[in-house]
């Protein structure tokens, strides 16, 4: 009797795996990947946003048969990739403003419909451009169910203008506008901010997902799935920023991984407003492991150590774990 070998050494944890068949490999492992965001861009060393954008757009390009237009909000991604007259993009790409990318993408999608082409449309921006200034346009795009895949690269602050707080900045984090001062220097306040993935779900659009640069296969699967659907889709990708977070550029993926494994960044997906899957925690870690590698949380570890603040952050992680069932091995639906 033939026995199937189910063990592949590194499974799908690594980018590639020579033991898997070609069809089972990731887009990023392929020598023929688009490299949508090509070399020579001016992102910082170890930039998570540059990495996340290449992961996502390469996967979208493959899913769209390379027939794709990208609309890009102002932010690092636009500035480091396209200082006039250079560009790193290997697909048709348009930049307009900081706050209107969703609306521009709606227009581009409408134009395709009128012209009768099959060209797909992608919109992308940072967390500031998405959760703050671009939020009205985004909500409209969702509400109209426009045929756009919107991707938010969440590095948890306005990085391009020098690390100002956004509504995606985590509590306790230091930014240029949430400087820890005084007797109990705690940085960004607790109890504010918002989860755009959950708000997107409230629009009951066909597809909403969160993803991370620390789990390439999950990210590619979600982009591919989103591209198989028409209508408004939203993917929120966690992308560490070495500069804004005060982290070692070599730790970009490690940090993203610790955010998932601690429960601080829940990875899940939802269809028509209902959660349909999650990526289970594999090796649970305390939030401290994640926090202490970043200077934006350094004030929590100085004398005296802010034990209570750290406990509050742990409580957020624990709530995510309960809410999204992150310790249940059932795993993602992708």
């Amino acid at each position: 009797m033939e026995t199937t070998i189910k063990f592949y050494q590194t499974d799908t944890f690594t980018v590639g795996n020579r033991l898997l068949s070609e069809a089972e490999r990731s887009v990023q492992a392929g020598m023929q990947r688009t490299n949508a965001l090509n070399s020579g861009h001016r992102a910082c060393q170890g930039c998570g946003e540059a990495l996340g954008a290449r992961f996502a757009v390469d996967a979208a390009m493959r899913a769209a048969g390379n027939d794709l237009i990208a609309c890009n909000a102002t932010g690092c991604l636009e500035v480091f990739s396209t200082p006039y007259p250079e560009s790193s993009w290997q697909l048709p790409w348009i930049h307009s403003l900081f706050g209107n990318t969703a609306a521009v993408a709606t227009g581009v999608a409408a134009a395709q419909r009128v012209k009768g082409t099959k060209t797909r449309v992608l919109a992308q921006g940072g967390d500031g451009g998405t959760t703050d200034i671009g939020f009205g346009c985004l909500s409209g795009m969702f509400e109209r169910n426009d045929d756009v895949l919107y991707i938010c690269y969440d590095n948890e602050a306005y990085m391009n203008t020098g690390v100002q707080r956004s509504s995606a900045t985590p509590p306790a984090a230091r930014t240029a506008t949430t400087v820890p001062v005084g007797q109990h220097p705690n940085g960004n306040v607790f109890g504010k901010g918002k989860s755009v993935p959950l708000i997107a779900m409230a629009h009951e659009i066909p597809y909403v997902a969160t993803a991370s640069v620390a789990d390439l296969r999950d990210l590619e699967a979600k982009v591919t799935k989103a591209m198989s659907i028409h209508g408004a889709r939203y993917i929120h990708i966690h992308v560490p920023c070495p500069l804004g977070w005060g982290a070692d550029p070599a730790h970009t993926i490690k940090l993203a991984r610790l955010a998932i494994e601690s429960g601080l960044f829940p990875v899940f997906e939802a269809e028509h407003g209902e959660i349909t899957g999650h990526r289970a925690i594999r090796e649970q870690v305390p939030v401290e492991d994640y926090l202490k590698l970043q200077k934006r949380f350094a004030h929590l570890f100085r004398n005296p150590k802010q034990v209570e603040v750290i406990a509050q952050l742990q409580a957020i992680a624990d709530r995510n774990i309960r809410r999204f069932k992150l310790l249940e091995k059932r795993g993602a639906a992708v």
């Binding site: 590194t10 033991l19 170890g46 090796e283």
Partner: protein, 545 residues
């Protein structure tokens, strides 16, 4: 390509893709691909490149795996059975769940080679030199194989009627079936090695001169049983392990129904298990110290106990009579040494087998003038040459040798390389070793969880009465699974992580089997690739170094 355009205010760049922008100039550190020495390789006495042959086995290319393995060790089917596999004790995976079953996969490859009839290539060019090898144990066979690979003519002379040394006349058949031994010896002979059996050499220099050999390798082992003085009556039957194990190869030695074995090493265990198979009702090992002090390996003691062998520790034999022996109980003193207690006991014994170790036979050595010795063993230099120019030695006969098959194979290889250099009037310089691939250098996140496959063990009853092989082999799917448990410590296994995680697409994938290269025009030196490489095959160096 850039076309000249009229530049608007404040624009200094040409219209172009960003490829014109060499961000590599920002770098203060650079990633570099390295190969490191995995602990398994570093520990293998035969110097096998285990990580490399497992790499081939992982993809199911067993022939490539076997060819890689046999670059260092020509006896994988034997090794897979008798090697004490120190590699597994060193394996980094041991710190994760359980060590990779290296030895089991080695055996699978060895058996697969015999099944498929894979042969060694004959040397492409003949050197015209001829080397005399004395002894066909693992040391001699390994030296012969490596010398032949390098194009030298080789003649092995062997005193016995069959080749293999202690692999035939020591290690019992239930651990090493003779068809396996015969086949692996034959494969070496088939390379064009001359094997002269039934030829004892006493004066090797005379033989060298008479037949015009250019160099000599000695691998005569340590075949003389050590004796201990035991007052014994005329009717007592005292023999030694070497004789019993030799005899059992061609006939059925008569040991009686109650057999006492004196000693605590692996040889004692082998004799006790052999006695059981020869029909002894009782096979008792008498040892002067405690079980944990026995030099025998734990797994061997365990297998012996499972087969009904009994152990009597803290005891010495003081007298052997007809049908019984007298033993004295020992007690450990404060320093942990056994001391006599004056308490005696009588045990029924039809025969006593001494398994107290072996010495090197001296006749041949005495014929070589001024040979530097250490006790009964021959002193060799760093490249296995004796004090007599052009006479090399390896295996059990060499001073300080660990006396295992694997060490003997390693000695044979090293000596062969040294002889090859010596024949050209050079001194053999071993290649410098890579830096160690330590556990700390791994990023273990990337490895899937998997437990070690256990080799099937022959049904207890069957192995008590027969000389059938005790430990079974892995089947193909098990072997593949086991090989894939390897972490590829310190050596790129093409997981594509560096290629994938570089935010600057500065890693060039060279294609299957060709690994990767850095494009330093764009690499900013973030070090993500090194951090996320599972096996630690990338280092980050300072740029001005």
């Amino acid at each position: 390509m850039s076309t000249q355009i009229e530049k608007p205010f404040a624009i200094t760049l040409d219209r172009n893709t960003s490829l014109a922008n060499h961000t590599g100039s920002w770098r203060s550190k650079r990633p570099v691909y390295v190969d490191r020495l995995p602990p398994c390789n570093a520990t293998c006495p035969a110097g096998e490149n285990i990580q490399n042959w497992l790499f081939h086995a992982e993809s199911g290319n067993y022939e490539a795996a076997w060819r890689s393995l046999t670059e260092n060790n020509p006896l994988p089917a034997i090794m897979g059975r008798v090697c004490y596999h120190p590699c597994e004790g060193a394996c980094n995976r041991g710190q994760l769940d359980a060590a990779v079953g290296i030895n089991a996969v080695e055996r699978f490859l060895g058996d697969e080679a015999l099944k498929q009839g894979w042969a060694f290539a004959k040397p492409a060019v003949e050197s015209g030199k001829r080397v005399l090898v004395v002894g066909s144990g693992p040391a001699g066979l390994s030296a012969a194989y490596h010398l032949r690979r390098m194009g030298h003519g080789v003649t092995i002379v062997e005193a016995e009627t069959a080749a293999g040394g202690m692999m035939r006349y020591g290690i019992p058949r239930y651990r090493l079936p003779r068809q396996v031994l015969d086949a692996e010896v034959q494969r070496i002979v088939d390379m064009g090695v001359e094997l002269r059996l039934d030829t004892r050499v006493d004066d090797v220099l005379a033989m060298q001169a008479a037949e015009g050999f250019d160099a000599v390798f000695l691998g005569i082992g340590a075949g003389i049983a050590k004796r201990a003085y035991i007052p014994a009556g005329d009717a007592s039957h005292i023999t030694d392990a070497v004789s019993v194990l030799h005899e059992v190869e061609d006939s059925q030695p008569l040991l009686g129904r109650k057999v006492v074995i004196y000693g605590g090493g692996n040889t004692a265990i082998d004799v006790a298990r052999t006695a059981k198979r020869l029909g002894a009702e009782e096979s008792i090992i008498v040892y002067r110290r405690t079980r944990d002090k026995m030099p025998a390996h734990d797994f061997e003691v365990k297998e012996a106990l499972e087969e009904g062998v009994k152990l009597k520790w803290l005891s010495t034999i003081t007298e052997a009579g007809e049908g019984n022996i007298t033993i004295e109980k020992m007690a450990l003193d404060a320093k942990g040494f056994p001391q006599p207690t004056g308490e005696f006991e009588t045990l029924p014994a039809d025969s006593v087998v001494l398994a107290l170790g072996q010495n090197v036979e001296q006749t041949l050595l005495e014929h070589i003038p001024n040979l530097t010795m250490k006790w009964d063993s021959v002193q060799t230099d760093a490249v296995m040459m004796t004090s007599h120019d052009g006479v090399f030695a390896g295996g059990d006969m060499v001073a300080g040798s660990e006396r295992t098959v694997t060490v003997a194979v390693g000695h044979g290889k090293k000596a062969a390389r040294a002889i090859d250099a010596w024949l050209r009037g050079e001194l053999y310089q071993p290649a410098p070793k890579h830096e160690p691939a330590t556990f700390e250098r791994l990023n273990t996140w990337y490895y899937a969880d998997a437990e070690k496959t256990v080799r099937p063990v022959l049904d207890i009853i069957r192995r008590q009465s027969t000389f059938d092989e005790v430990v079974g082999g892995l089947d193909e799917s098990n072997a593949l699974f086991e090989a894939r448990r390897c972490l590829s410590c310190g050596n790129c296994f093409e997981c594509d992580n560096c290629y994938g995680v570089c935010p600057d697409s500065a890693v060039i994938k060279l294609g299957a089997g060709k690994r990767f290269a850095f494009n330093y025009d764009y690499c900013k030196g973030c070090g993500l690739c090194a951090e996320e490489c599972p096996c630690g095959a990338i280092v980050v160096e300072l740029e001005d170094k």
